[in-house]
């Protein structure tokens, strides 16, 4: 049984939406296909899809663009490999490069897209974790015609369940503010060498230091998975905000994490206890790293390709 019948390569968002609409829900968007193709083959689909709509030639979804307000607009169909190679993102959204650099292997990163990953709604998607720390927004072209920017969590209904209707709606782009001097990010994750290559835990942080680089003016932390949807670790952020950079503050953040974050166990991945401990391990790695980057203004992505 074929998995789909026809294959369309639209050049614009409108064309993509119109093609989807034409199939009345029986078509799907495809970009890298690294999730979808596996999904189509190995979950029991009674009927083949009528069509695949390939968005990898929709220009507006392929750009990495620095806007006038110092935000970055990142097309949803940009591949992980392209993100990793971007010097702009490495310098000013380092965590995103670090997270996209550990997704899959090179062949997967060459075709797999950040948008595809987010659209699949995995709560611990590496790119998602970093987008959360970057406080990113997503541009959705709803099948009904409305185009709107939404905060990232609005795209998630639950584990693996997206707010998008994959037969109708299209994730077009992301937008986030690039790090300015005194700001920096970092991402790390914990894997295990067995079983499905999903992170046991990922952690991304964004810090903004004061002018003297002695205190945290602001912080964003995302640890995943700790909930059915990606969430920010607001209590950890609160424990850091306004506090001096240093060991005691880090200890307070760790304590806040233990107090307020309670990840669950998942079969063949991790016990709840292990995950809980990994929050601490990762915070102790990422927070000082991001802080150091913010102080020095030097940010080189770590661990790319070593996932």
């Amino acid at each position: 049984m074929p998995l789909w019948k026809s294959y369309h390569i639209p050049r614009t968002v409108d064309e993509a939406l119109a093609t989807l609409a034409q199939y009345g829900g029986a078509a799907r968007i495809v970009a890298g296909g690294t999730d979808l193709m596996v999904d189509l083959q190995y979950t029991d689909h009674v009927q083949p899809l009528e069509a695949l709509v390939d968005v990898t030639r929709v220009q507006e979804m392929l750009d990495i663009h620095q806007e006038a307000d110092d935000s970055c607009r990142l097309g949803a169909a940009v591949t992980h490999a392209t993100i990793v190679k971007s010097t702009l993102l490495e310098a000013r959204a380092t965590c995103l490069v670090e997270s996209c650099g550990v997704v899959g292997g090179p062949q997967v990163r060459n075709v797999g897209t950040l948008g595809g990953n987010v659209a699949h709604a995995l709560p611990a998607g590496d790119g998602t974790t970093s987008l959360m720390a970057l406080d990113a927004q997503a541009l959705v072209a709803w099948g009904g015609g409305l185009h709107e920017w939404l905060p990232l969590p609005a795209l998630f209904r639950g584990p693996g369940v997206s707010a998008l209707d994959h037969g109708k709606d299209l994730l077009v782009a992301f937008r986030f503010t690039l790090c300015a001097p005194g700001e920096a990010t970092a991402f790390k994750r914990i894997m295990r060498p067995q079983g499905v290559a999903l992170p046991i835990l990922g952690c991304a942080v964004w810090v903004k230091l004061n002018a003297a680089r002695t205190h945290y003016d602001d912080v964003r932390v995302c640890v995943s998975p700790v909930a059915p949807k990606p969430v920010r670790a607001v209590e950890v952020e609160a424990a850091l905000r306004g506090q001096p950079v240093g060991q005691q503050t880090l200890e307070n953040a760790v304590a806040a994490a233990h107090r307020t974050l309670h990840p669950r166990a998942s079969a063949y991945r991790a016990t709840a206890e292990y995950r809980q401990h990994m929050i601490e391990t990762l915070l102790r790695q990422t927070l000082p790293l991001a802080t150091e980057r913010a102080k020095t203004g030097e940010a080189r992505a770590e661990g790319v390709g070593l996932g």
Partner: protein
Amino acid sequence: MSELKLTVNGVEHHLDVPESRTLAFVLRYDLGLTGTKIGCSEAECGICTVHVNGTPVNSCIFPAFKANGAQVKTVEGLAARDNGHEHLHPLQEAFIEHGAVQCGFCTPGLLMTAAALLDENSSPSETDIKIALKDTYCRCTGYTSVLRAIQSAAAVRRGDPKLPVAEPHVSEPMRSISQSEKVQDIEDRVTGRAKYTDDYTFAGMLFARTLRARYPHARVLRIDTSRAKALPGVHAVLTAADVPGENIHGLVHLDWPVLCAVGDKVRYMGDAVAIIAADSEDLAAEALKLIEVDYAPLTVVDDPVFARSPEAPLVHEGREGGNLLKHIKVRHGDIERGFAESDVIVERTYRTPTTEHAFLEPECAIGVPAGYGDHDKLTIYVGSQIPYQDRNQIARAMALSEEQVRVKGVLIGGGFGGKEDIAGQIHVAMLATVTGRPVKMLYTRQESLLFHPKRHATLIRIKTGVKRDGTLMAVEAELYGDGGAYASLSDKVMTRATTHATGPYNVAHAKIDCYAMYTNNPPSGAFRGFGVTQSAFAVEQNMDLVAEALGIDPIAFRLKNAQKVGVTTATGQLLRESVGLIETIEKVSADMHAGHFRWGWREGDMAYGWGIACAYKNTGLGGGAPDRADAQVEAFADGSVEVRTSSADMGQGLLAVLAQCAAEELGVPYKHVRVLLSDTDKTPNGGPTTASRQTYMSGNAVRLAAINLRDTLSRVVAEEFDCPPERLIFEEGLVRNNGTSMPFADAVKLAHAQGLSTNILHEYWGPKTQPLGTGGDMHFAFSYATQAALVGVHLHTGEVRVEKIISATDIGRAINPLLVQGQIEGGIIMALGNCLTESFIVEQGVPWSTLLARYKMPSIKHTPHITSYLVEHRTADGPYGAKGVGEIPSINTSPAICNAIYNAVGVRIFSLPVDQDALLRALREGEHEVHTAWHDVH
């Protein structure tokens, strides 16, 4: 349908194909570029890698139309061509030169991934290579040779000198023997020309699929195939009622139905219920869904200990012994006395999981009916480890005589023991016969995972007693082996686990009991290491526990008790020769101690530790089974020689070994010898390719056939030269006596002129062995090995990394040193997977590990630095002193790693694969033992 335009390797194609195709499919089946292989269709294994506009991608999940208008490059386009001449890419040359090609099935993927890397980076570091190849798997080589080959090719491209080949040191090399000759036609494996079963097509060929069980244990009440049969394009839907002969097969016990019948049962999820042949794979898959089967589910026997309890339902009814497939016993000395005289006794329980071969080529068989083209009889094309037993089992099920069936072996994309049992061979025989057309049955990776026999999960309780002076006194062990639904080779595998459960030591008193049990899990069978991998995990950790309790160095303790000539094994075999264990320990120990040595230390967040473990493994079937291999050696008037036998080369390089034996004895250049393997109509029976036996068995058969042939030629030439035949020397393609000589070809012509045959068949019988329990020689040779592992444990995550392996292996003689090294490096990495990454998870009879994505084998990123030494204690009856090498490297890696973990952090691992989660918990809570594994994480 619209037109697909692709430029592939510089050639523009305009194709009229369905839009639903993947790029891999179009390349392989529409364009016939079968160099691109499919190993998983999940974007996991990477062997399907091709370049699309210069970028490496997994073609198995790449929609073909996504590449519309693109430039595509495949392995067939890697070599440069001018005026019809092919110039291999430096990578292709380096892969051959450095021994980075074994079965070759992964090679196109590795080459294409590496080629993209070199295009971007002219001097890649080892880390750069590991990053680029992280998701391109090879199950054979262990990657060390791959890393070297890529660096060498990079050097050549930069105009620098290439890297020297890391050939191991051997003693007394001969003219052909102990030379690293290349396997014949190895170039085909780097150019994409090599053909594996799925690369063959026949006009009018149909495609087959198998309907598998819906429950792990259920009675089949009704099968209705009428809707499937009615689907246009479906040519046959067959069930048990259509099996022409006996509906049964099996290698040792006949207990496995060809198709499960109404009224009978399905016994595991991989059981076959119906088979279909249709015009296309898609159609066959669609028809599968139209078959209706009613089942009455039964209680699932999911565990070997439960299987032995009275409450357990029977997996096979009416069988004497119930679920007990076999109780295997070793009795040696007086166990009570042994423990009474021991000062220290250590008793522990160990667990090893079910593991999967994951050879990169999924099973495939093609049946061609008698009378089709030039096929005068029913012919099965298959990559099989045991062609003659395939023939026997096909004939029985087809109600044909063996002579009415031909099994033609083709290249095998890895086996490791997993291609010994029948897969689709009988099914395609049935479908081809019924339809009168060739029929191909290609398993998907997911079907392969579900279906084929795996490594036995075992539970091993072992008690070791020693005297204060370090003398090993007694070993008592009880093993439970999960045999799964069908016997396969369980009997033999678990026997090996049992007989080797003392380890390679001198133990005066032993009592070992093993219960091989039927369950409703996937069957267990042969897998490199053959049961010994399991028992060694327990034995070698108990050795360290005992050494620690005595306060003796683990190396000294092993040296004190190591088997040597004069020792009698627990099965009553007096070792008379070729016991190189002590030398392997000394070699490894010397390397470990070079420089500042410590068993364990800490550095920052890491703890490091060394661990050591020894192993031994029999060569050959043994246990009283008559072991025989036949081979033919034929010399032709042009001076060339052909060797023929049905023994399998699944990547280990038997092709070279056999040709080297013939070349050595006949004194002809290696290149003049061709080898034909595995065609039951053309090659005599070399016996199963299992038990590390082929170098010894078929090697001897070829050697002795060649000697007979040389004797024939000697007689003829001696007459011509008027000298005694024994004065003649065969070398450099000549037959020489003093100053006179004659080309080898002329000697052959001379023999032909006298009406003598230069085609010699030799039936070689291995030295006689004794059944277990009767004493005497249970095996005719043993190989020995010692390995040390250096391991790093992250103190805050529990993650374990193997940094280094030092290995020394006594293989009697390395007939082909580079191939031997390939076996050792590959075996070590496979065993590293056994220790750290692999477990085939089954939940109440239902596999969870249904995708390759759920079964991780080691990738290049796990490859530690490996140093390997060869030790060559010749065995008198082995060819040139050689004994087996296929399995011995896969036995002691896991316990060496776990001993190292203990020495690093003081926590001992009793269950595999190592779970970082439980290890960290033990570290945090100050515990010293971990009894759970990854698959226990919930």
